[in-house]
Symmetry: C2
Subunit: 250 residues, 2 copies
Amino acid sequence: MANSPSGDSVTDRIVRVLETFTPSRSVQTAAEVGRRAGLPASTAHRIVGDLVEAGLLDRDGEGRISVGLRLWELATRSSHVLRVRQAALPAMERVQARVREHTQLAILEQDEALFLERLSDPRAGANITRIAGRLPLHASSSGLVLLAFAEPAVQERVLGGPLRRVSASTPTDPAAVRRKLAEVRRLGHAIAPGYIEEVSTGVAVPVRDDAGRAAAALSVVLPRDAVPALALEELHRAALEVERALRSPL
Amino acid sequence: MANSPSGDSVTDRIVRVLETFTPSRSVQTAAEVGRRAGLPASTAHRIVGDLVEAGLLDRDGEGRISVGLRLWELATRSSHVLRVRQAALPAMERVQARVREHTQLAILEQDEALFLERLSDPRAGANITRIAGRLPLHASSSGLVLLAFAEPAVQERVLGGPLRRVSASTPTDPAAVRRKLAEVRRLGHAIAPGYIEEVSTGVAVPVRDDAGRAAAALSVVLPRDAVPALALEELHRAALEVERALRSPL
DNA sequence: CCGCGGCTCCCGTTCAATGGGAGCGCGATG
DNA sequence: CATCGCGCTCCCATTGAACGGGAGCCGCGG
């Protein structure tokens, strides 16, 4: 390879380039990509050009760069995500039809909750959760469920790290979060009033794998003071259905 | 870089590695990845290791390799696909609730139909379309719609290439496909009886962009001899709704 | 008209990447 | 029990893909 004064590998640079694209920055110039990826201008232009040629990035008629469809295709077609989403979608649709609120599917990824799907209801309030977006585990109902039913090592690691406040109601005291996790395990669900947004309550249940761990979390976002009974009933029923779908062979 | 006796770039090799993962081969050993990507064993192990470290691939407890969640996340979170899917999903759910058949969303990609979403109904028959899967344009109702309302250059390129037969009913004569495209433009929809599977009829309508091109295609898969009137009505209504959703600012 | 930023292209430099091979572990087979 | 085949890790001499500074062009805004 090349002499790389910075010592970076090509793989590292490609990942940094891809990481510059975010939900709020889905289109940018190659120069901007380079600056954000920490690359010299000519290197950035060259790497972006290579990725465009490979289909991982796309260059529009005005020369602006975005994530390419080929990347989405390669990332999706053989991904575990697709299987989980497809298993969950019918059940999520039913939850949403009955509860009439945003319905979400999340999994544990690198000590955070990663959202695989979100069915939005136009009548429901605004909601910051995004598909392919992340939320801290301690700060969301999905996250609490994923953490409560994770391996103890994950729990210790998360509780030993910083617990970021997302809203005034987010618990950040490790002991309080630990108690909350014990409650989630006892009840089999999590209720998180105002943890993310003051006006909303997240309600989540686990989708268990064969070992009893949370393979995923199903949740809805209710208005802050709504009674969660119906939502819990529908979510539990949905979770059983998703567990069944995930167990059946393809 | 490196002395690369084959002259391959690192980017090319990474793409070839990612391309070895398919819907029917979502898990494989690093050695298998290397063979399929045309790489020497030690090179394959090294590149796979780098991609695992970057999160683009994942290595399970038994050392088998699959596509990583990070890749899905990076590919999805800022992708145009997400916006189109989210705009279409409510309308697709309504079509499915009323028509009770598989409902699909496709876009044009590299002279093929790429499927972004498929809502499956358990009551519906089997269907080979897959999310993040492709079908030839001339051989599917979605593809016919995407092609009929594409730029003339795309039409000429596709009609000038091989038209692969997918089932006994797939049209492969360029003149016949050209006539079919004229019919699709005149009627504003495509009906494809048995083009993919003999027992099914695909019915598709375009989701138009501001220039009148097909930004996407919405379709359902009916039993071969079903009357398409209801499906067409629902699909057209859904398409208008998706067009409206795509026009509105985020 | 000038300054600025994006972009393409060139090319001397160099170390990241290459890949053959040694060696280990494991499972299957005779 | 010995042997074989395969996957995998690690080493390291080799080398050319990759690096990135800089020249130059173009378009745009002031």
